[in-house]
Amino acid sequence: MNGFEGMPDGLRSAVTSGLRPDPRSPSPIRPRLRPPSARVVVLAALAIALVSAVPISLEWRSDVALLGGWRSLGLSLLQWLGGVSVLAAALTEAVPGRQLAARRLLLLVLAASTLFTGLTLSTLAVHRTLVPHGAEAIYLRVCLGCPPILALPLLAASLMLVFRAFPVRPVLAGTLAGLGSGLVADAGWRLYCEVTEPTHVFAVHGGAMLLSTLLGAALAWVVALWRERRGSNLSSLGRVL
């Protein structure tokens, strides 16, 4: 015998009112969330548009012919794939019961870092380009500020999909969404910025990715807080506390 033999009336009415037939749909079942692998397709399409928008709307890097197809476009597509994989991980993390284990998270971050480092060194091996003397501040401002702004639409779309599920660790899911968006934005940016000097790439381009990651975490925190406060007003939590 336990104290949970009968469902409290308040809970029963909350549940049955939720099952009231929707006039738009004859079934009381809400549409089931598609699996993360299916939902990420939308983000992948947006991501490929983002990567191609940078060189098309700005200009291709000046050494694109020297680098060849693989080291310019090919490696950017590889980085795009890496970014989309991180976004898929964010969508998986957002589904209750499917949170990523610490080891998998660590592997993901390590893989993203290795990919970024490998791409940078691979490009550097063919052509070394330095930041023009006297233009350091401009390069710093542009390469640090623009990619996170470019990543914003993808980040917003990712966070929308993350919160359409029920992330039980929203900041972590947002961090992953930010990292994925940052990787994708950098995949496009490297088709525009011709500087291959490692200090610039690691500090400035890496810093831009870090900014996107932090932005993702901060936005997710804000949304989660809003959802939590709204939820505490709507549900019995307010009454309980």
């Binding site: 049955t16 029920f166 925190w221 505490s232 307010g238």
Partner: protein, 204 residues
């Protein structure tokens, strides 16, 4: 990192099974799928079967049996609300217990926030001249009133004190507590009803 992002800060037992789905979880899954398909009795059966286990888990997290009971109700509401995220092909237990843990973290944060507000309100109350307190004190002593107020749940107590004792209007109460105006009105009204009931009990 705060509660939102912390991987596993508590020492509560892990609800995640190490192997394939156990029989109980499979039964819960069947009941939940039936509930989603519109079976009105399935959720009731699920409640009877799952609530005790959820209560044990939440009690281990909250270290408070009566609070854990309230959290169980809240968890069931959240299970129902987020049913669109449940994939019937996957085990039920990790999904349900992940939501339960989130409900606990959310409630703990709300509790901490409210406690902070109560301290701030007490401090401001001590420096303010009570608006309606003399009337109240003409009927009951201040000590009795404090005794009754202490027996109200925190959320109701705050609304009653702010509106009826400090004279704030409902818009101001809502602003102070971070809730909607209608919630402030409802809480204050429920709080007064409880106070009247307490007064009635004492008279008898």
């Amino acid at each position: 990192m705060d509660d939102y992002g912390s991987p596993d800060p508590d020492k509560a037992p892990s609800p995640r099974p190490s192997g394939p789905e156990d029989d109980t979880s499979a039964i819960w899954r069947g009941l939940f799928v039936a509930h989603c398909a519109g079976d009105p009795l399935a959720f009731e059966q699920l409640y009877r079967s799952l609530a005790p286990e959820l209560h044990r888990y939440l009690k281990a997290l909250a270290a408070d049996a009566s609070w854990a009971e309230e959290l169980v109700q809240e968890t069931f509401i959240q299970l129902h609300r987020s049913r669109h995220t449940f994939d019937p092909a996957l085990p039920f237990r990790p999904w349900a217990f992940a939501i339960a843990r989130y409900v606990f973290l959310m409630a703990r944060r709300a509790r901490t926030r409210l406690a902070g507000r109560e301290v701030a309100i007490r401090e401001s109350a001590s420096s303010l001249e009570p608006a309606h307190a003399p009337e109240a004190e003409s009927i009951v002593t201040r000590r009795t009133l404090e005794h009754w107020l202490a027996r109200l749940p925190q959320s109701l107590r705050l609304s009653v004190v702010l509106h009826h004792l400090l004279g704030l209007d409902f818009k101001q109460v809502a602003g102070r507590l971070g809730i909607s105006e209608s919630s402030a009105r409802a809480r204050s009204s429920r709080g007064m009803a409880r106070l009247r009931a307490l007064a009635g009990e004492e008279e008898r």
